[in-house]
């Protein structure tokens, strides 16, 4: 893209940041609700490790498991901060998409830019405070070492790719608003499947064998499990490289699918003639 073009899209990112900040209080409200599920997770896993015959279940100790699940939950606020699903869904529902199509910008990249703004506001408002808090908490209560600076560097590189994958998937699911107006139901289906398959509820080593292998060929794991494992220092050298490669491939493939399907969709849009 030419520098002039990037500037055009930056305006949308800025708007995304501002809208992210506008809803900060309701975001904190929802987070409070998340605190309950984290509490349940902590006690459930504590009981599970007490009932287990060994200290390590599926390659993870209790400390690793708890930090994985909590990092994953916090990482989710970042990776799934994208608003593309709602923007495209409501644009189709309300017919605004017609106006968007005559504007001289690429609709898909406009949404990506807006979502990137949401990503940045989620980073500042939620991710940084929560992550620092939980890392310090883990360090002093469970004696889990704080990840090194290098791990953080790789993590951020990976999480941006994760975010782009998540945004593409949200965009693709949002396009289904063409067939149904049940955005709320669609959102529930989307959220639960994405969080299960991405490993944000449970690392894939707990999945049954066939599912674990299938997941290796799908983009979901690249969203949460990959960056969190990188953060925890579980991936190194060749493995690290190959997961990054995998993420890159998915970013390009899904982006192409988004553009293709959106072009196909344009021909089907029926809009109120505003």
């Amino acid at each position: 893209m030419k520098p002039k073009n990037i500037k055009k899209y930056m305006a949308f990112s800025k708007a995304g940041i501002l809208s992210g900040f506008a809803y900060k209080f309701s975001a904190f409200g929802w987070l409070l609700g998340d605190a309950i599920s984290l509490m349940i997770l902590y006690f459930l896993w504590k009981a599970i490790y007490q009932n287990a015959s060994s200290d390590v279940i599926n390659g993870m100790t209790f400390e690793e498991m708890v930090s994985y699940l909590i990092y994953a939950r916090i990482g989710t606020t970042l990776v799934f901060s994208t608003a593309s699903f709602w923007i495209i869904g409501e644009d189709i529902y309300e017919g605004n998409i017609a106006i968007s199509l005559i504007r001289p910008i690429n609709y898909r990249y406009r949404l990506l830019a807006t979502s990137f703004g949401n990503f940045l506001s989620a980073l500042i408002l939620m991710f940084v405070p929560l992550m620092s808090l939980s890392m310090l908490l883990f360090h002093f209560t469970l004696e889990i070492p704080i990840p090194g600076i290098l791990n953080f560097g790789w993590f951020f590189a990976s999480v941006i790719l994760s975010f782009m994958i998540a945004d593409s998937l949200n965009f693709l699911i949002g396009e289904m608003a063409l067939f149904t107006n049940a955005l709320f139901g669609l959102m529930i289906i989307k959220n639960i499947t994405l969080s299960f398959f991405s490993g944000s509820l449970l690392p894939s080593s707990f999945f049954p064998n066939w599912l674990e292998i299938t997941m290796k060929f799908l983009p979901f794991q690249s969203m949460i499990e990959t960056p969190i494992m990188i953060l925890m220092g579980k991936l190194e050298g060749y493995q690290l490289l190959s997961t990054f490669l995998m993420q890159f491939v998915w970013v390009f493939v899904l982006n192409a699918v988004c553009n293709l399907s959106f072009n196909a969709m344009k021909k089907r849009v029926v809009s109120v003639g505003g």
């Binding site: 409200g29 006690f43 599970i48 009932n51 067939f179 107006n181 049940a182 139901g185």
Partner: protein
């Protein structure tokens, strides 16, 4: 009273017709809730299958408990989902205006206005779980135990209803309470697990302050471990009735404070 019994079917059929105007949308909603609970349970299933039993509760028992938990919650979800609108800014939008000018109990009108078909997703899954996991367990299907469980389940519906009404009615004072409402409602998730895995303070909250475990978990424990069912049923009845009376009291108090949106 007779008036309400006669009117309710009209409200119900109107609401269902309105929803079924968009059949596919209704289906997506029902399927969504079914899938959500199915996946959450699968996560739990995969988690617990890595160990033989959780404090004496094996997979089938946990599944049975999960199924039982879903049913009263689903029934409440189907019949009184409109209460969420109180917390979700409904007071400032003035949604109660239209109820107050009719010669019927406003709470009745609010609740009767919508049948939430999405709750059927949870209900179907709950029944499936009870059948599947119930058949794998060796349960003494005593007549009196089964009746006790049914009665407990019936009271549990009112418990869920009351919790929503209490925290929804807070909006009369705070204008918006959906965050608190969700927070408290999410406490019900604790009831899906044996209460003794939690810390003492949480156990105290779940037994005496927000007695979700009393209402959901205790009946199943009594049922599966052959304890005295009717004592537990009495506890469930007491907590539900107390919670319901409290919620109705807060609702009437709040309604007196209600001001119209004035448009």
């Amino acid at each position: 009273m007779k008036k309400y019994v006669k009117l309710y079917p009209y409200y119900v059929s109107r609401s269902i017709k309105a929803r079924l105007a968009y059949r596919f949308d209704a289906f997506i909603g029902i399927f969504g809730f079914l899938l959500e609970n199915g996946i959450i349970f699968s996560t739990l299933y995969l988690t617990i299958s890595s160990i033989p039993a959780l404090n004496g509760w094996d997979l089938n028992m946990m599944g049975f408990l999960y199924g039982y938990y879903l049913i009263p919650k689903a029934i409440d979800h189907i019949f009184s989902d409109q209460i969420w609108q109180l917390g979700n800014g409904g007071i400032t939008r003035g949604i109660l205006d239209k109820y107050l000018i009719k010669p019927l109990n406003p709470l009745f009108q609010l609740v009767a206005e919508m049948i939430q078909l999405e709750g059927f997703g949870e209900l179907i899954l709950g029944i499936i779980f009870l059948c599947v996991f119930g058949s794998k367990l060796t349960i003494n299907w005593h007549f009196s135990n089964t009746i006790g469980l049914l009665v407990s389940g019936f009271f549990a519906i009112w418990f869920f209803f009351a919790i929503k009404l209490i925290f929804g009615s807070l909006s009369f004072w705070t204008k918006r309470s959906i965050e608190v409402m969700t927070l408290v409602y999410d406490f019900s998730n604790f009831a899906k697990y044996p209460v003794d895995i939690f810390s003492k303070s949480i156990q105290f909250v779940l037994t005496f302050i927000l007695p979700f475990s009393v209402v959901i978990f205790f009946p199943i424990r009594a049922f599966l471990f052959n304890e005295n069912m009717w004592i537990v049923t009495l506890y469930v009845a007491i907590s539900s009735v107390a919670m319901f009376l409290l919620s109705y009291f807060i609702w009437t108090k709040g309604l007196k404070k209600y001001e119209s949106a004035g448009s």
